[in-house]
Symmetry: C2
Subunit: 112 residues, 2 copies
DNA sequence: TCTTTATGTTTAGAAAATAAACATTAACTT
DNA sequence: AAGTTAATGTTTATTTTCTAAACATAAAGA
């Protein structure tokens, strides 16, 4: 009975755009919406959608100022929960990369 | 003009199941279909689909023996191209995690 | 006032992931 | 030897997710 298990990979973070947003927010004090669009080279619609997902997960906080329209400004900030999730995700991936799976292939089939 | 760019993330490998399959094949000489199902804790349908994608990308080779049915045996092996792609992906992610994005947020908007 | 520009969000379409259903064949049962 | 069960895999249909196009809002400029 091999109890081998791959590390758990957080599906919320295992998405290119969301991960880039989180990495950016982890390295800056805060970042606004349009800045995230630029550095991730993504459309506003996509960034808006992924930011909503990250906010709903409690990984970031989103604050809007300036009202709607021309001069609105939406700024994002990573939360403690987000930082922990990001680091756990990073650790899981590092472990995954160094994984050596057990070679017990013959034990499971009814040949021989 | 900041020319900042995040590392390129190979979308074929940035999928949990495909990545686990590749990591397993990178650490073993070869692995058969049912073994991959077990260690990845995934259904046969899903593994079959992802293996096809990896094969079409040239990242793995798939050989079948025993014909169809009860005692068929499908074994997968990573290719040189697959090894390189996996390591490039790993390197890109490591760089992403250590990324420090430029803090030039104020330079882009027409306030002030 | 009308147009243009700068934010964002909603929603509709595309793409991808997942599992359910199907297919194949060998062993077992009676 | 016909019928059943069990072991692989594949195809397909559903669900989920991603992406961008369309929409909405408001300020500045003509």
């Amino acid at each position: 009975m091999s109890a081998f298990k791959f590390p758990v990979i957080n599906p919320l973070l295992h998405n290119e755009l969301r991960l880039k947003i989180m990495v950016a927010l982890d390295s800056l004090e805060s970042a606004d919406f349009m800045y995230l669009c630029r550095i991730t080279d993504s459309t506003r619609g996509n960034v808006s959608a992924q930011i909503t997902i990250l906010r709903d997960a409690g990984y970031i906080e989103v604050s809007k100022s300036g009202g709607l329209g021309r001069f609105s400004r939406t700024v994002c900030r990573i939360t403690a929960k987000g930082i922990e999730a990001l680091h756990t995700y990073e650790d899981g991936l590092r472990r995954l990369f160094s994984e050596r799976v057990p070679n017990d292939q013959e034990s499971r089939r009814d040949i021989g």
